[in-house]
């Protein structure tokens, strides 16, 4: 029996739809004209606060 339908090339390479969609969106954002480009990139900025835990206690968090 053949494999289940024709999978898109990105799924055959192990990528999920969300990853594919986000890559497409980022590429489009990088091709925008100036005021729109900085707006779009600023809108998509994400802040992370990461803290490692040792012995059941969190250490000081790092912010990204």
């Amino acid at each position: 029996m053949a494999s289940n339908a024709a999978v898109p090339f990105w799924r055959a390479a192990g990528m999920t739809y969300i990853t594919y969609s986000n890559i497409c969106a980022n590429l489009v954002r990088n091709c925008l004209k100036e005021p729109y480009k900085t707006e779009a990139l600023a809108r998509e900025k994400v802040h992370f606060s990461i803290s490692k835990w040792t012995d059941g206690k969190p250490e000081k968090p790092n912010d990204v």
Binding site: P8, F9, W10, A12, A13, G14, M15, Y20, S21, N22, I23, C24, A25, L27, V28, R29, N30, C31, L32, K33, E34, Y36, K37, A40, R43
Partner: protein
């Protein structure tokens, strides 16, 4: 049968007391979901017991298909951060589905289409508004409501042609030198998106 009548009456009153500012595709009066042939044959055999509920009675009713085709489609075009068009009545939309450019007129067969990077054009009378979509989905319902969702959508004049050419050249080169499957896939995506941007600007 009378027990079920009171449940149905209660359901219709709660539905009408909701006030929503934006109409959804499920707002139109729904067709009742009772399996009438099953209930009738049950009653013939076992008249004293209530017929059990069939799976279709648990489903929320599908929005009713109006008997005549409406003259315009209602478009809801949303992005993760904003709602571009909300219940806008238009004559036609052309969506960039993976299977090709698909024109949607009122009365279109219900469809779920995955979108590829391309142009969405909204036709209203003589005006055409075009957006470049990065990817997303289009849901067309039986009652001529189209929900189009995209991750990123920009009007065509916000795209910088020089950056598009540069990106296309870069990814074509990366596609040539890619080794692993993942790198090849990413480079291919880059080439696809930039060529779509290119043809959007020139076409």
């Amino acid at each position: 049968m009378f027990r079920q009548a009171s449940r149905l009456l209660a359901r219709t009153t709660t539905a009408t007391t909701w006030r929503r500012s934006r109409a959804f595709s499920t707002d139109l009066p729904a067709t009742p979901t009772e399996d009438s042939t099953f209930i009738e044959s049950w009653k013939k055999v076992i008249p004293n017991m209530d017929p059990p509920k069939t799976p279709s009675s648990f489903m929320t009713p599908r929005p009713a298909t109006p008997s005549s085709i409406p003259s315009k489609i209602t478009v809801n075009f949303v992005l993760p951060y904003a709602s571009e068009l909300s219940t806008k009545e238009v004559d036609m939309v052309i969506v960039p589905a993976t299977t090709g450019q698909m024109g949607v007129l009122p009365g279109h067969v219900p469809t779920i289409a995955e979108l590829k990077p391309g142009i969405l054009s909204v036709h209203e009378g003589n005006d055409v508004t075009k957006y470049f979509l990065s990817s997303g989905f289009a849901f067309i319902h039986a009652n001529s409501v189209a929900d189009i969702i995209a991750v990123e959508a920009v009007p065509l004049d916000c795209i910088d042609p020089a950056l598009v050419q540069k990106g296309l050249a870069e990814f074509t080169q990366r596609l040539g030198t890619a080794t692993s499957d993942l790198e090849k896939a990413e480079a291919q995506i880059g080439v696809d998106v930039h060529s779509a941007l290119n043809s959007a600007l020139t076409g």
